[in-house]
Symmetry: C2
């Protein structure tokens, strides 16, 4: 997928290891019977990290989230490591917290740190007891294999039904020094983040206070991950953490100055591209859908309308069928819980193949069905909605609804 950048920010390789001082590893410990598929990942910074996190708002919270929150409170937001497994979400289990605690202990022992410095996360099937033995027997090997180029091994360890690994990192200059910020994420179903998203880990060598990492994260999550929906199901295990170890050597960011703005933009670019990757690799997806709502009276209105379009199963099916059935876009705009005048709404459908106006002032306009088919045959479809009611805008990301989504989720748990 083509990444979307901004002047002054260069995309670099390395994912969670792009920033100075971060090592990673991943391996198969046996949770997943497929020995070729990594299922246990580790990220480590010897230098303590100022850490921020956002988590699912689902009332059902994965046990790892409860433990991670407790650890961050105990350590005052300082962490050094992330331990994460796939194949089992360790959620809705009576012994879930105990197992998540055990994962932190094992990791801390292997690394010679304290367990409160460990972020723990799990993803996979909900409601099945997590076997701890495979982790116990592989943690030493996992820690021993940590390396500065281990990002890919970690990124593949968190994949579930994902078809591609998701890593993004950028390099930029802040206060005269070169900094990096990068991360890894996993999708690809049960994605409809609310205040956070599915597993996502960001690392950076920027020196910045914890409270400002958290502030930037909250702002950026609202306009990236929280504008993503694959299927409308808010996961129980959504976790997004940002670890900043300060090794870039910039003057530590302690207020909302220009450096903070540069940091926030870096975070935006990485999370926005990760959001697009997650949408494009939504379960069964063949197309990335990007709905931009402009000329809204405020950002919240724009977000609500954009998400309503992206979430409509009927519109998602129409995009799978490459059918310019714009009435479904209007329908979804119409039931969005926001205040605007439907009679002023314009809609265009676009792609790399061109753009077509399909609706003006809430009513249909004539267009060539043949050209519409060509526009919609692309892999990324842009739905541009104007409310003609102000100057705010927002974008939401989703994907089409396909046979394969049903196949993946209709198949027996595996």
């Amino acid at each position: 997928m083509k990444l979307t950048g901004k002047e002054g920010y260069t995309f670099v390789e390395g994912g969670v290891c792009a920033a100075k001082g971060f090592k990673a590893n991943g391996l198969n410990c046996g949770l997943n019977p497929n020995k070729d598929k990594n299922d246990l990942g580790l990220v480590y910074s010897e230098t303590p990290c100022h850490t921020a996190g956002v988590y699912t708002q689902n009332k059902v919270k994965g046990a790892p989230i409860l433990v991670t929150k407790k650890n961050l409170e105990a350590s005052g937001g300082i962490t050094k490591a992330i331990i994460v497994n796939s194949k089992n979400a360790n959620t809705c289990n009576a012994d879930g917290e105990q197992k998540a605690e055990r994962m932190c202990e094992l990791t801390a022992q292997a690394l010679g740190i304290v367990k409160e410095e460990v972020i723990v996360a799990s993803t996979g099937v909900i409601g099945q007891v997590l076997p701890i033995e495979p982790i116990e027997t592989h943690i030493e090997k996992l820690a021993a294999g940590l390396s500065e180029d281990g990002n890919e091994r970690a990124a593949t360890a968190i994949m579930t039904t994902d078809t591609v690994k998701k890593e993004v990192a950028v390099e930029f200059v802040l206060g005269g020094v070169t900094c990096r910020l990068g991360g890894m994420a996993k999708g690809s179903g049960m994605i409809h983040p609310n205040m956070a998203t599915t597993l996502n880990f960001v690392t950076t060598d920027v020196a910045i206070e914890t409270s400002l990492v958290q502030k930037a994260l909250n702002e950026i999550v609202k306009i990236t991950y929280n504008c993503l929906s694959v299927d409308g199901d808010t996961s129980t295990n959504d976790t997004l953490t940002v670890m900043a170890n300060g090794l870039a050597g910039n003057a530590c960011i302690t207020e909302e100055n220009e450096d903070y703005a540069i940091f926030k933009d870096a975070l935006y670019i990485v999370l926005m591209n990760m959001t697009r990757m997650l949408a494009a690799d939504g379960e069964g997806a063949t197309k990335l859908l990007e709905c931009s709502v402009s000329e809204a009276k405020d950002v919240d209105t724009a977000i609500i309308v954009a998400k309503s379009v992206i979430c409509s199963p009927l519109f998602k099916c129409a995009m799978f069928g490459e059918d310019a059935n714009w009435g479904r876009v209007l329908c979804a705009i119409g039931y969005a819980d926001a205040d605007f005048s439907i009679e002023k709404v314009d809609v265009d459908l676009a792609s790399e193949n061109g753009s077509i106006a399909v609706c003006r002032n809430g009513a249909g306009v004539e267009f060539s069905e043949e050209f519409a088919k060509e526009v919609l045959s692309a892999d990324t479809i842009y739905i541009r909605v104007s409310l003609h009611d102000g100057d705010s805008q927002a974008t939401a990301w989703g994907c089409d609804l396909t046979y394969d989504y049903v196949k993946i989720n209709g198949d027996y748990r595996s």
Copy 2:
């Protein structure tokens, strides 16, 4: 589908013609190129009817809804006829209201009534201009063919992607006289009613004041149609009307007495069964899903939780796959926007083949996967949730998410 009744109410044939004094007809006027498929329906009562209606809350409202509301205001809630077409929703068209007005005029002329006594409705593709000629040239024939056994012709005229016609009628005794109440409805996609639902027409010979028909309708819609979701898309044309012509000869109901309660129960039985029919015939559906939430602190909480389960695409796919993936039920309960304690939640899955406990106190319990498969192989699956937080309950209805849903809606508009 087996209907669910109540003592004192007998199911009868006749749909919208079950009640005294109602005639109906339906034919193909050419809107649908398939000459074997009726696309224009008419319902008529020579005796004026006290009429109540509820309509979509979508900001995009079909032109027929605007005209019907205007007519009901002008006539003081008195109607005599319903004219309805399928194949074209007459929505998002610049000339939509004009065309809907014309349909009323044509109907009034053919029946010798005034146009404000006509309810008009359309269903089909959004945003395509409605050809009025086929209606103009067939309205006389349609009116001439009205008969007391024409209900099926009308019920088939409103079908779109529906695979079965939907009619329910009951007979009951009220104040010593025999009364009837029946109706017809159409599904089967873009169904997630909010305050009303897709096209649905109820007729009755009960004598009752308009304000009380409306009051009963509002109450019953909340616990029937508004608890139905096929795909989360709230249609632009949702319309549900109840016409009461009083021909049963009962003492006119003018207050909320015992007779009113009997009437309301009849309305509940018909609308609840219609709701189940709509869910069972949801686009592509192979299974009816019925989620009952009990021991909630209030009805609203029970409704919100039940609808959240019914709307979850992941759970809907799991039901298609007959997979007792109850973690997805918990997940959907967890993101329901209501206040309760997830640690007290119990979940059972049941069908005519038996019942299994899958979750107690928010955590999984062991069960036989083999027996679970057998339970889930039935056509109707009951999801029973207890919140252990009060004594209110509610039920929501939906269907599984299947390849055919994607096929029907991914295919080019037709």
